[in-house]
Symmetry: C2
Subunit: 360 residues, 2 copies
Amino acid sequence: MKRIYNFSAGPAVLPEEVLQEAAGEMLDYRGCGMSVMEMSHRSKMFENILAEAEQDLRDLLAVPQGYKVLFLQGGAHLQFAMLPLNLMKNHTADYIITGHWAKRAWSEAKKFGAANAIASSEDKTFSYIPDCADLPVSDNADYVYICENNTIYGTKFHTLPNTKGKPLVADVSSCFLSEPMDVSSYGVIYGGAQKNIGPAGVVVMIIREDLIPDSLPESVPTMLRYKTHADNGSMYNTPPCYGIYMCGKVFKWIKAQGGLEGMKKINEKKAAILYNYLDSSKLFHGTVEKSSRSLMNVPFITGDADIDAKFIKEAAAAGFENLKGHRSVGGMRASIYNAMPEAGVQALVDFMKNFEAENS
Amino acid sequence: MKRIYNFSAGPAVLPEEVLQEAAGEMLDYRGCGMSVMEMSHRSKMFENILAEAEQDLRDLLAVPQGYKVLFLQGGAHLQFAMLPLNLMKNHTADYIITGHWAKRAWSEAKKFGAANAIASSEDKTFSYIPDCADLPVSDNADYVYICENNTIYGTKFHTLPNTKGKPLVADVSSCFLSEPMDVSSYGVIYGGAQKNIGPAGVVVMIIREDLIPDSLPESVPTMLRYKTHADNGSMYNTPPCYGIYMCGKVFKWIKAQGGLEGMKKINEKKAAILYNYLDSSKLFHGTVEKSSRSLMNVPFITGDADIDAKFIKEAAAAGFENLKGHRSVGGMRASIYNAMPEAGVQALVDFMKNFEAENS
C-alpha cells in the first residue's frame, strides 16, 4: 500500500487510522454482519452511530445548551440559500466579503432580501481580513455573515467581528475543529465535512435554537427548513449515513489528539514549520498578511509562473500532491488540515529547500 | 467476518464483491496513494470515476441522446420540491397516488402550483396499482408523476400510465436497475441510491434535456435548479464523491450479472421463490394484488400480530434481519433488491416453512 502527502484543499486528507478502521468494518460493522452503508437508518445501530457522532462533536466544542446539531446535505452551497430563507425575518443581512465563497453566499442571499456587503478585502485580492471592530451593521440585520477561514486565499478571522448584537453566522468549512471555538459567540456555525472532518456529502451545523423559525412562507420547500431537520434529529429523510459515520470516527480521532486544545497545538506547530520557511526563503513567498494567516491553507508563490509550474510538477513527482493554487489565483497552496501529519509538512519544506537551492 | 441476510428496505444490502473492492481501495485507490474520500473532486482521477459511472449507467439503460444524467444530493425528498420548481411552467401537474412517498411528493408539489391526484389506490391500503389507461390528465399538466415501485406496499407499475402526451416523471428509488426500462417513455427518472444502487446521500436522475428550464424566477435557489447541475456535469459544487464511486462499482457489478436483462432474470427467479411459497402457505399471506406485485419488496402477514412479532424475532435471531414491515402498515416485508443473493431468499423461505410447521 502506498500513501502520498496530499495537500488538497478539499476533499482532503483523512487520518490514516480512521481509514484503516473503516476498511476493516466495511463488510461487517462490529459483528452485526452488515456494512454501515447497508444499515437501515431507522435501526438502533445507526441511531447509535448518529447519536455518538453528535455527542462527540458537542464534547469537542463544549456546545452550550440551546444549540441544535444538524447533519445536512447539499454542501455549503445549499446553505447559502437556506440561511437567508430561514433567518431573514427582516429580509436584511450583512455580509463580510473575504473571498470567493463569502461572495457566493452573499450573491445567493440577494435572492431573498437586502444582503449588504459591510466590509471587503477584495481591494488586495482577499489577502487580509478587514478590521471588523466597528462596522456599519444594519439596524435591522437578521445576521452578520462571515467565511471564517478562506480556503483559496489562506486567511482566517483571528478576532470575530463585532456584530453589535446581531447573530453571527460563520462558514467554518476549512477550519472546522482545527482549534477551540466559543460556540456561544455564534448564532450559526456550519461547514462542509470534506475539508477537516469527513467525506464530501455531509454538512454539519450548530444552530442556536431560537434562530430556527417555527413557520415560514408556504413556498419554502420542506427540506430547506431547519425546523424539518431539527424536529427530526437530522432523520426527516434518509441522511448520508456513511458520511456521518466517517465524521464520527474523525471526531473520536480528534479527541484522541487531545481535543481541540491538542489539535491547535499540533496545527500551530505544523503551520510554523511552513510559515517560518516561507518567511526566510528568497524564492518562495507567502501571499497573506501575517496577522490574517490561516493555520489550514497556506498559499505561496515564487513570482514567476514558469517556476511555479516547474515546482508543482516536480513536487507531484516526489509524492506531494495537489499543491496547485485555486484556478482563480494561481501559484501554490498547501492545505495542511488536521489530518496532515507534521512529517508531511516537514517533508514538503525539505523538498522546497532543495528546490530553492537548485533553482536560484 | 460475519455476513447476515439483510432484508432492509433501504439503506439496503450491497453486493459483497463491491464492498470487498471498496475495503481494499480504502487507503490507496489504484496505487494513487489516496482514498477516493480524500481526492479533490477536480482531479483527473475523480473526474474519471464520475465519467465512468455515468457511462456505465448510460450503457445499462441504453439512455438515448437528449437525456442528461445528474448526480444530486438531498434524497428523493429534495426532488419532491425541485421537480415542481423546475418543471411546473403551467403551474399544474398530475399525481398518481400509490403510496406514502407518492403522497409526500404530491403534497410538496402543492406548494408550487395545482397538483392534482388523478388516481389513487388508497381505498385498499395501496395494495394495487390503479388502471392508468385512460385517466383525466389535465390539459395543461406539465407532467404526470408516479412512484414506480412502492417500497412500503410492495406494488409496481407493470404498465406505465397513459400520460396523453405529457412527460412522465417517475421515482424509481426502489426498482432502479432491477430490470430493463425504456428511458424514452419518461421525461424524468430519478431515485435515491440507497435501495438498489449505492449508499444513501446520492440521487441519480435521468432527465430529458428539453425539460430543464433555461430560466426560473429569481427566488429559486441556485442549487435547486437542474440547469445548475446539468451545465456543470454534476460538479457545480463538491458532489458526494464517495457515494458516486460506490454507485459506479454497483453499475459495473450489474453489467457483470448480464446487464438489466440478466438482472431481471435473477430477480424474477428470486421473487418467484418467495411468492410461490406465500401462495401455497396456510400461515403467511402476501398483501398485494398479484398483478401489481413488486420484484423488490414483498410484504406479507399471518393475520395475527402476535405471531408476526414472534416470527420477526425468531427470524432475526436466525440471521434474517430487517423483516419488520414499515411502521405505517405493520406485518412483515422482505426487500430482495439486486444485491440479495438467491441463497438468501431460499434460506428465508426454508425458515418460514419451518416456522409454519412449528406454529400451525
